[in-house]
């Protein structure tokens, strides 16, 4: 049995989702010869740690009841630096302006020779090249399937399952909030404003929705795909971005009468990176509704491969983190 001492840094919705999934999959992981021992959990208010393993069920209860997992005044960064362990699961919130604490956490993890699995887009969008170099220099593994498309497999699909294929381009819907808003505007013939309000009430859109609706989130994911799958060193500034705020219900209806739906499509190829509302033929594989994400990969040998799945949600995202974790430790 291989023991993987792990920290969960960031205990919001996704961090908690990871804890739940690890509890749920404990026996399964054992059947693979893996014992994932969580030695530290940190959120923005503090942390709890135990070299022999913290009780994840208790952490979840404490977070729900008190709003924090903290028992000690310790930051995630300090734990990464000081506590001996193999894997950092980095699930702090995305900050695309500075990279936030996520960037510091990842740097510290590599400096101390730890592996990193993350869902955090900020550091990947800003400092992809630097982080990959640091991981390589430290001999650390660095996986981030959860940062693009939640449960929908795309990075590992291309790098592993489709290995050997040259990827000519990828296009898809990478933001569930925008997809929901556009789908509902068409169904209800309602204005962007009205459906945005509905999405906020349902918790599908954030209180500050600009990150999603202006296309910024999609652009960040494109940057990650461009870097991870095309070997580029792109940043957010390389993306031409148009959001969905100007889309009208009339436009959606007219498009439909002519056999199209309007979707916010992110496209990446060696020619460039672009996010814009696009007309998608109603019967095209990219024309998925609701909060679904979808991506179509244009490959040299296998032709077009399209995957679709839930782009957000704590358990769905944790599923991508779990698969990264397994693929790191099962293979070595």
């Amino acid at each position: 049995m291989k023991t993987i001492r792990t920290s969960i840094i960031g205990f919001g919705a996704i961090g908690q989702g990871v804890a739940e999934v690890l509890l749920l999959k404990k026996e399964y992981l054992r059947s693979l010869g893996l014992e994932v021992r969580v030695v530290a959990v940190a959120d923005s208010k503090g942390a709890t740690f135990n070299p022999n393993g913290v009780d994840l069920a208790k952490c979840l209860v404490r977070k729900r009841e008190t709003g924090t997992v903290a028992l000690e005044k310790l930051s995630g960064l300090e734990l990464i630096k000081r506590l001996d362990h193999e894997l950092v699961i980095e699930t702090t919130p995305t900050n695309i302006e500075t990279g936030g604490v996520g960037l510091q956490n990842m740097r510290a993890a590599f400096e101390t020779g730890k592996d990193v699995v993350t869902s955090n887009k900020g550091p990947l969008t800003l400092k992809y090249g630097e982080l990959q170099e640091a991981a390589k220099a430290a001999g650390s593994k660095f996986r981030f399937e959860a940062s693009v498309g939640g449960a929908m497999p795309i990075i590992n699909l291309v790098n592993e399952v489709l290995a050997g294929n040259e990827v000519k381009g990828i296009k898809g819907i990478l933001n569930g909030t925008c997809n929901y808003i556009l789908s509902r505007m068409l169904e209800e013939k309602a204005s962007y404003k009205d459906i945005l309000a509905e999405s906020m009430e349902l918790g599908i859109a954030e209180t500050d929705p600009s990150y999603d609706v202006e296309g910024i989130d999609t652009a960040c994911k494109l940057v990650i795909l461009a870097n991870a799958l095309f070997g580029l060193d792109a940043t957010y500034n390389d993306v031409e971005v148009t959001g969905i705020t100007k889309i009208t219900p009339d436009a959606l209806e007219m498009a439909q009468e002519n056999g199209y739906v309007i979707k916010l499509i992110g496209e990446v190829s060696r020619k460039g990176l672009q996010v814009a509302p696009r007309l998608v033929p109603i019967k095209h594989p990219l024309a998925v509704g609701g909060t679904l994400n979808v991506a179509s990969v244009d490959t040299e040998l296998a032709g077009e491969i399209t995957v679709t799945g839930k782009g957000a949600g704590p358990i769905e995202t944790a599923s991508a983190i779990l698969s990264d974790l397994i693929s790191i430790y099962r293979e070595c």
Binding site: D250, A251, N258, A276
Partner: protein, 167 residues
């Protein structure tokens, strides 16, 4: 009437003049000439596509004169458009002059706005339009879209294109 005509020229000097002379004599208005220099037919001739405006009654005479000049006329048809695209425009489509936008594309001679749906929810509110553009070929369609893109940027209109098409 506007027609397209595919002709074939021998690969010797002076052929284009022999093709254009009858057009002028028959008062046909030449709109575009696409000259495929690098292509050869099995007969070792060079294919040329013409788009022209002429009176229907002059067409037979025109064909006869071309052939008298040794120019082979392979096809004559009104169906000259081979490429088509739908584009959604959102913004102050009317106030910024939709007619002007259409005119700029129609004036090219190689592309035309063939359909327009319009929705105006109220003054001050952005309107939406779906226009269909036909063009004689892929390259010409791209040129028409480039014009539309330039006009849209100037008039602050959001242009929504089908996937797989760049402007």
């Amino acid at each position: 009437m506007r027609i397209s005509m595919d002709i074939e020229l021998k690969d010797v000097p002076g052929q284009m003049l022999l093709a254009l002379q009858p057009l002028s004599e028959c008062r046909a208005n030449l709109i575009t000439v696409v000259h495929h220099h690098q292509k050869r037919t099995p007969r070792n001739t060079m294919p040329v596509q013409l788009v022209l405006e002429t009176r229907p009654e002059n067409l037979e005479l025109l064909k006869a004169r071309l052939e008298a000049n040794g120019i082979r006329v392979v096809r004559v048809g009104e169906q000259r458009f081979r490429e088509s695209v739908s584009v959604v425009l959102i913004g102050h489509v009317i106030h910024t002059g939709i007619q002007d936008t259409i005119d700029r594309i129609d004036k090219t001679g190689f592309a035309e706005v063939v359909d327009l749906s319009l929705s105006m929810p109220g003054i001050e509110k952005p309107s939406s339009a779906l226009i269909k553009i036909d063009a004689v070929g892929k390259e010409e369609l791209q040129k028409a879209l480039a014009i539309l893109r330039e006009v849209s940027a100037k008039k602050d209109l959001l242009m929504v294109l089908p996937i797989g098409i760049q402007a």
